[in-house]
């Protein structure tokens, strides 16, 4: 018997019961598309987290001051003003004394009204030193970043985020222009490259950067050197762990915190946080994928069920085929071909539906659209394997029928 004839027979048999065939196929379609959609969404989320982490900078650690609660006797130190804890001297010490640290910058934050002629915009300002751009892995689109001498002299210069630049200078060149922030004039020396929204829907381009000394001395006019944060970059990803420990030890010593007493600062390892987040999304992907795989399994069991019913229904037909000279193996191949064709066609439709589904969901959720080609391939092959696995038993049952018994079957 020719292979092509087996395929034709299988297609013909499937065509005889169109509704039954379509419903059985639906199980596989749903299973395959669910696997693809779930895995694609999971991997999309993973990518999103990776992008965000890249936006935070490479091998970055954040040092933040925090209120200290020492409890017990004496006067409670209670909640110290966070911004009073960290000093410029701390920044210098971290940068110079810890070998695992590559760069460090103080971060001073302010809020202000940006004015250019009749355009105005309220936004966030971050003050830092000249290393900030490199630590966070940001890029300048136009103009340039400030230098060490700008920090020393507290120059009245500013680098604008894309959103601010576009708002204040619609259709015009921002670099070289002068704007007013909190009623003081500043010169725009650069514009940051666009970074888009982060996962919370926050516009990452709605930020301006200037030397931290400028904010301290010119803008806020504070007597005390206030530093909200110290952002540190380690020399490598592996060094972030040791760097965290060393910074903790150094700051405890510098802040004269006795053993057993709580830290008045907190060191966050962004790489650690990122790894944890990535792990979470990876586990989520696996979980979603497995749940979807279960639906594919259920689809496969549906196929087995229908094929078993079909073998019983067609017992007499099988008897006739055997009487006129079909070998058992031809019967087996025909039934196997039926279930494999069912699964492959269902799998193919499922792949298309899965791609459509993941693109739609990604669009609705505002996530980067992403279709996992591995998931599509694996789901399709798995559906074909389902056809063989769940089709084999019914096919074998059909092939082992006794022709005399089968012919007598009513």
């Amino acid at each position: 018997m020719r292979i092509i004839d087996i395929q034709k027979m299988a297609v013909h048999a499937l065509g005889k019961n169109k509704i039954q065939t379509a419903l059985t196929m639906l199980g596989i379609v749903i299973g395959v598309s669910a696997v693809i959609a779930m895995v694609s969404l999971g991997q999309g989320a993973q990518k999103l987290v990776q992008d965000q982490v890249a936006g935070m900078g490479t091998n970055v650690l954040q040092v933040q001051g925090q209120g200290q609660y020492s409890g017990g006797g004496g006067g409670a130190r209670g909640s110290t003003d966070q911004s009073q804890v960290l000093t410029e001297a701390d920044v210098d010490a971290i940068r110079k004394e810890i070998p695992a640290v590559a760069m460090a910058t103080p971060v001073v934050q302010a809020q202000g009204q940006f004015v250019n002629g009749n355009q105005n915009w309220s936004s966030r300002i971050e003050g830092s030193n000249e290393f900030y751009l490199d630590i966070r892995g940001w890029k300048i689109a136009q103009g340039e970043f400030f230098t060490e001498s700008d920090v020393r002299t507290a120059s009245k210069i500013v680098i604008l985020g894309k959103t601010i630049a576009d708002t204040l200078f619609p259709g015009g060149e921002a670099v070289g222009q002068s704007i007013r922030i909190r009623n003081l004039p500043y010169r725009v020396i650069g514009v940051l490259a666009a970074k888009g929204q982060n996962s919370n829907g926050q516009d990452q381009d709605d930020t301006a950067i200037m030397p931290y000394t400028t904010i301290q001395k010119k803008m806020l006019g504070a007597a005390l050197p206030r530093i909200q944060r110290i952002t540190v970059s380690a020399i490598s990803a592996a060094a972030t762990g040791p760097a965290k420990d060393q910074i903790t030890a150094l700051l405890r010593e510098r802040h004269q915190i006795r053993p057993g007493q709580q830290d008045d600062f907190r060191v966050n390892n962004i790489t650690e946080v990122a790894e944890a987040a990535e792990n979470t999304t990876r586990v989520m992907t696996l979980l979603l994928g497995s749940i979807a795989a279960v639906s594919l399994l259920v689809g496969g069991i549906g196929i087995m069920n229908i094929m078993l019913v079909s073998v019983t229904e067609r017992t007499r037909e099988i008897g006739i085929r055997m009487a006129i000279g079909s070998r058992g193996s031809y019967i087996r191949m025909q039934f196997l071909a039926e279930s494999v064709i069912l699964c492959m066609v269902g799998g193919f439709i499922g792949v298309l539906a899965g791609i459509g589904l993941s693109l739609t969901i990604a669009h609705v959720m505002g996530w980067p659209s992403f279709v996992s080609p591995q998931a599509a391939t694996v789901a399709f092959l798995f559906s074909a394997a389902t056809g063989i696995f769940f089709g084999y038993y019914p096919a074998h049952k059909a092939a082992s029928l006794d022709p005399i018994e089968a012919l007598r079957y009513e």
Partner: protein, 248 residues
């Protein structure tokens, strides 16, 4: 008779068939020997349970004898494997059943082609042969009809065409007119007679109607798993008279 044995299409020698269902043993055939030569038209009769169906299953290679030998068209089939028997059924035997047994929702011509599909014959050749076979039974214009669009007589003719298309050594007909009215039954029997007379087709036909058996040229009667009577039928009218006398 070594000469006639050499010419035999069917040669059964001391064939026994015992069915075992649990504790119970059924001796369906008790030493049957039968020679059928090429071009013979044999009617097999006997009450139900007499072993005629068992013998038909053996002749049709659907089953194997418990003991004894069966030589079909010069080949010993009593020791064949399942697959060999399937191939033998495919090429040497044409089945015609009481309930027609066409594949449902499948056109007449595709039904006729089916044995040739299993034989691995090319689509063009089998379509041609199927059309010829349908024309031979007078159904040339019904080739694309589905079984449920055909009358009983027409369905049985499609079944006959299917049996003939692969050029078998024998045609095995099991109560082929059992589901037909007498007029249609007569038409079908005419086709059998014609096939036997014009194409020298060897036919073995099981029936319990004397009227139908009278179309054959030889009568084999079974009783309790043995051949009780084996004689030629000379003339249809004489035979019918003889049968009528026996009934009384």
């Amino acid at each position: 008779m070594p000469e006639s044995a050499a010419m035999s299409v069917i040669s059964l020698k001391d064939v026994h068939k015992i069915y075992r269902t649990g504790e119970i043993e059924v001796h369906a055939l008790r030493g049957v020997s039968l020679e059928v030569s090429r071009g013979e038209f044999v009617a097999v009769m006997g009450p139900s349970g007499s072993g005629k169906s068992t013998m038909m299953n053996l002749i049709g290679c659907l089953d194997r004898p418990t003991s004894g030998t069966y030589i079909l068209d010069g080949v010993d089939v009593s020791t064949m494997s399942k697959n060999q028997r399937a191939d033998t059924r495919n090429t040497k035997i044409g089945f015609v059943f009481q309930s027609f047994n066409l594949i449902p929702r499948t056109t007449a011509v595709v039904n006729v082609e089916l044995p040739m599909v299993y034989a691995g014959i090319s689509p063009r050749e089998r379509r041609e042969r199927a059309r010829t076979a349908l024309a031979n039974v007078g159904l040339a214009e019904k080739e694309n009809s589905l079984p449920n669009q055909l009358s009983g007589g027409q369905q049985q003719r499609v079944a006959l065409a299917r049996a003939l298309a692969s050029n078998p050594a024998i045609i095995l007909a099991d109560e082929p007119t059992g589901a037909l009215d007498s007029k249609t039954a007569d038409e079908i029997m005419k086709i059998f007679e014609q096939l036997n007379a014009e194409r020298h087709m060897t036919i073995v036909l099981v029936t319990h109607e004397p009227d139908i058996a009278a179309h054959a040229k030889r009568l084999v009667r079974f009783r309790d798993g043995e051949i009780q009577e084996d004689r030629p039928i000379r003339h249809r009218d004489e035979e019918l008279k003889l049968q009528a006398q026996l009934e009384i």
